[in-house]
């Protein structure tokens, strides 16, 4: 064994932890917890004079790093102890706060909290003589996973449909001796009172959450955050003002936009830099810092000027939401227009600011108000995957209806604005109904089968001959896919998606 020089640490679930959410608040809470846990690990390493290579420090607890890379021998025992302690602090703060706020209850739930203390996370740790080696060893360890599942009895959380519902006597339930309907009444009563204490905007009286789901909600409250020993500057920049109103997508049936993006081929990019004989640790550190700063100084300001919010930007991956309290259809369309404008500019004005030579793939979901947030997030991830699959360096737009059905169209950044804004209907206006109807008619007549001329001809009528030429010259770039380029489908999807975007 050569001299140990690098330690790699990661934990799981990350994506799943964030995704199990019902309100916007859950996303903040979830992403804050993940950041806090890795922040604690990095802080400890630094205070022991070890160099944290990634994530770089900028003065925020923010983002969800996939891996923590530390230069030096950060022992398993140390790492594990620090990590567990941080998580325990969060749980304890939440539990004690609840018990103080609702003191009249007969609390017999310590054992369940303890189970979540020990078994919420899979923790992975590995070392190597180089960063690459440490990472490789970490990935090898992850193959076996490291989970323990906490079984449950009776009804499960209304949010995720899994795991026991948190309530004061949850540990006492005996299937043979307990009265089931009494149990249900107790749960309902507890959530009524809890909702009253924290306000309905944070927990609806109709919700019944599991312990980790409850924690994600509560951690967004100031009195609980204040117990985490973070300086004011370190508190998450996802500052949740007391006046923070959660999104009421369903009640007000509002459409919202969600975007999730990820840098392309980051691993290969970093490897390429290493092969140029540079110092691996320096490269990674520089990269990590550039990306974190980008999230803070470029991405956030571009969104948070009234358009929406960034949930996390933890490096090369990011998640955000566009929402506006529009009151009419015209306002809604104007708002959607602003979102599109943001995407036209995103690649060359926002993304490029980190000055790393990498491209980005983004999934954008324009979602109807009735689709649950968890589903929207899944669609978001799928749209991002679609953008990657279709050749990266592009945007996938998905229109998601209340029925759960969706339309999707994918386009590289360089071509996006030219196509969407270049549309002219037969009267020279911007009415997409024309192309939409033509497509519907031609589809009904099976006009697109076995030839591309019809679709291309239609494209030329509505987008002009220059744009058609550009499309044909760059067919491979525009329509890469897992299969042969299907120009017909791309044009059909463009018409359908464009109709909803610009209607």
């Amino acid at each position: 064994m050569s001299e140990i020089r690098y330690t790699a640490v990661t934990f799981s679930p990350i994506q799943g932890f964030i995704e199990k959410s019902r309100k916007l608040r859950d996303l903040y809470g979830g992403s804050f917890i993940l950041s806090y846990l890795s922040h604690t690990l990095c802080d400890y390493a630094r205070s022991n004079n070890q160099e944290v290579i990634s994530p770089a420090t900028i003065n925020v607890v923010q983002g969800t790093p996939n891996q923590i890379i530390i230069k030096g021998d950060f022992s398993y025992q140390e790492a594990r102890t620090i990590f567990d302690r941080a998580w325990k602090t969060i749980l304890q703060s939440c539990r004690e706060w609840l018990e103080n706020k609702l003191p009249s209850k007969d609390y017999q739930w310590q054992q369940q909290w303890q189970a979540w203390e020990n078994h919420t996370w899979e923790f992975f740790w590995a070392q190597g003589s180089s960063i690459g080696e440490a990472r490789h060893a970490l990935n090898e360890k992850k193959r076996s996973r490291n989970w323990v599942g906490i079984n449950w009895m009776g009804e499960s959380s209304t949010l995720s449909g899994t795991d026991a519902i948190a309530h004061p006597t949850m540990g006492k339930f005996h299937p043979k001796q307990s009265n089931y309907s009494q149990e249900i009444a107790k749960i309902e009563d507890f959530y009524q009172q809890l909702s009253h204490v924290v306000s309905e905007s944070i927990i609806d009286p109709s919700e019944q959450l599991s312990i980790p789901e409850l924690i994600k909600r509560l951690i967004t409250l100031k009195p609980i955050q204040s117990q985490l020993n973070l300086s004011a500057a370190e508190l998450p920049k996802v500052e949740i003002p007391d006046s923070f109103r959660d999104l009421k997508r369903l009640e007000e049936n509002r459409w919202t936009g969600w975007f999730q993006g990820d840098g392309d081929r980051i691993g290969e990019y970093l490897k390429g830099l290493n092969e140029q004989g540079n110092n691996e640790a320096q490269i990674l550190k520089k990269f990590s810092r550039a990306m974190l700063n980008w999230g803070e100084n470029a991405l956030k300001p571009s969104v948070e000027n009234g358009l929406g919010r960034v949930i996390y930007a933890g490096g090369d991956d990011f998640l955000g939401i566009f929402y506006q309290n529009y009151t009419s259809d015209a306002e809604k369309q104007a708002f959607l227009g602003e979102c599109l404008q943001w995407f036209y500019r995103f690649n060359h004005e926002v993304w490029q600011q980190h000055q790393q030579n990498i491209t980005v793939s983004v999934g954008f979901v324009w979602a109807a108000g009735g689709v649950p947030q968890r589903d929207v997030l899944q669609h978001c991830r799928e749209a991002e995957q679609a953008a990657k699959k279709q050749g990266r360096d592009r945007l996938a737009i998905r229109i998601l209806f209340n029925s759960g059905n969706y339309l999707q169209w994918t386009c590289p950044w360089w071509f996006l604005e030219e196509v969407i804004t270049g549309y002219r209907d037969r009267a020279g206006g911007q009415n997409w109904t024309h192309i939409y109807n033509d497509i519907a008619t031609l589809e009904n007549r099976h006009a697109f089968e076995n030839n591309q001329n019809i679709a291309l001809g239609l494209f030329e009528i509505y987008f002009g001959s220059q744009t058609r030429q550009r499309l044909e010259q760059n067919l491979d770039s525009v329509i890469l896919g897992d299969s042969s380029p299907d120009i017909n489908q791309w044009i059909i999807n463009l018409a359908k998606v464009g109709f909803h975007l610009c209607h």
Binding site: A115, H136, N151, W152, T158, A164, V371, S403, G404
Partner: protein, 331 residues
């Protein structure tokens, strides 16, 4: 009644099946894909037996698998995780060299591969060639909203009286397949959710498949069904020895190749009328590969004590049914 699987149960949906699991009466859990759980676990089939036969004490079922209706005996089982797949093509077969997993050329696998979830035919178990994807798709469709306290359509709700059901449409040429040691009459049954009917056939299980299932698992084997291990309180990635102070694996595991846990729900207790209590555990996903230092018998001879027991043994649900993996197989 023998312990061995002698019957093949095929299930053809008459219309849609139900694609979610969880709290039925909570619309939020029905909408869309979040609670997705398909195909129905073997516990669902066991429930169907329970509703139709008096004595099911000796029942053992296993699944889910699927097949072409035309050729039900050559059913699909989950591809073991030691095969790395890209775009439905097998790229590598990983081997355990007692230190780490390596490809057939003795190198570490590099690059990105598809997440698990492929299927292979049972006759290709020893040398998988073709990987197939799920023969079903999710079709969310509208459904009357029910009152929260009764199974009645809610007429005067301000949310409208429809909600989405995450329905599943199986390819019309495919059927779901389960194994069983007990005969069941052919016919139409209620299966997998409210008001969903299926056409069920019970066939004698092909002799070759029976032979394969009788083979000892040896030192390297893969799960072809999800495995729930552990105590009533916790689920683990391996069976544990009963009545120990510490959690002690019942197997001497060199390594295992697995994924995140999947929720495994079932209902227990009560006869048909009584309120049955729901339970949830976590399962090791099918396709997981175990490498042990001591060889194991065929699954049918596995120790009863390895299986969780709650009212009855989880062996009844074919938990962790496994087949041996060839060591140093030729690709």
């Amino acid at each position: 009644m023998s312990l061995t699987f002698q019957y093949l149960i095929t299930i053809e949906p008459l219309g849609f099946l139900y694609g979610s699991a969880g709290r039925f009466l909570s619309p939020e859990n029905l909408v869309g894909r979040s609670g997705t759980s398909f195909p129905p676990s073997s516990a669902t089939l066991s429930g169907l037996y329970a509703a139709n036969q008096e004595d099911i004490n000796a029942l053992i079922v296993a699944g889910p698998f699927w097949s072409e209706i035309q050729n039900p005996q050559n059913f699909r089982v989950p591809l073991p995780h030691n095969y790395l797949v890209k775009d439905q093509q097998i790229q590598h077969q990983l081997q355990w060299n007692h230190q780490q997993w390596e490809t057939e050329n003795g190198t570490s696998p590099t690059g990105k591969f598809d997440k698990g979830g492929g299927w292979i035919t049972i006759d290709q178990w020893h040398s998988p060639q073709q990987v197939e994807s799920d023969p079903w798709e999710y079709l969310p469709h509208l459904h009357p909203r029910l009152k929260t306290e009764e199974r009645k359509v809610e007429a005067d709700s301000d949310q409208g009286s429809l909600f989405l059901e995450n329905a599943v449409q199986l390819d019309p040429e495919a059927c779901l397949v389960y194994l069983s040691n007990t005969h069941l009459d052919n016919g139409w049954y209620r299966f997998g959710g409210e008001g969903h009917f299926v056409n069920l056939r019970c066939l004698p299980l092909d002799a070759e498949t029976q032979t394969l299932l009788h083979q000892p698992c040896g030192k390297q084997f893969a799960l072809i069904t999800p495995a729930v291990w552990g105590s009533n309180r916790y689920s683990y990635r391996f069976p544990i020895l009963p009545n120990q102070q510490e959690v002690t694996p019942a197997w001497s595991i060199e390594t295992l190749l697995t994924e995140r846990p999947q929720a495994f729900r079932y209902r227990l207790g009560g006869d048909k009328q009584a309120k049955r209590l729901s339970r949830g555990r976590y399962a090791v996903p099918a396709g997981s590969v175990y490498v042990l230092s001591e060889p194991l018998e065929p699954w049918e001879n596995w120790e009863e004590s390895w299986f969780p027991k709650e009212a009855y043994s989880f062996k009844r649900w074919g938990c962790g049914l496994s087949l041996p993996l060839a060591i140093g197989g030729k690709s």
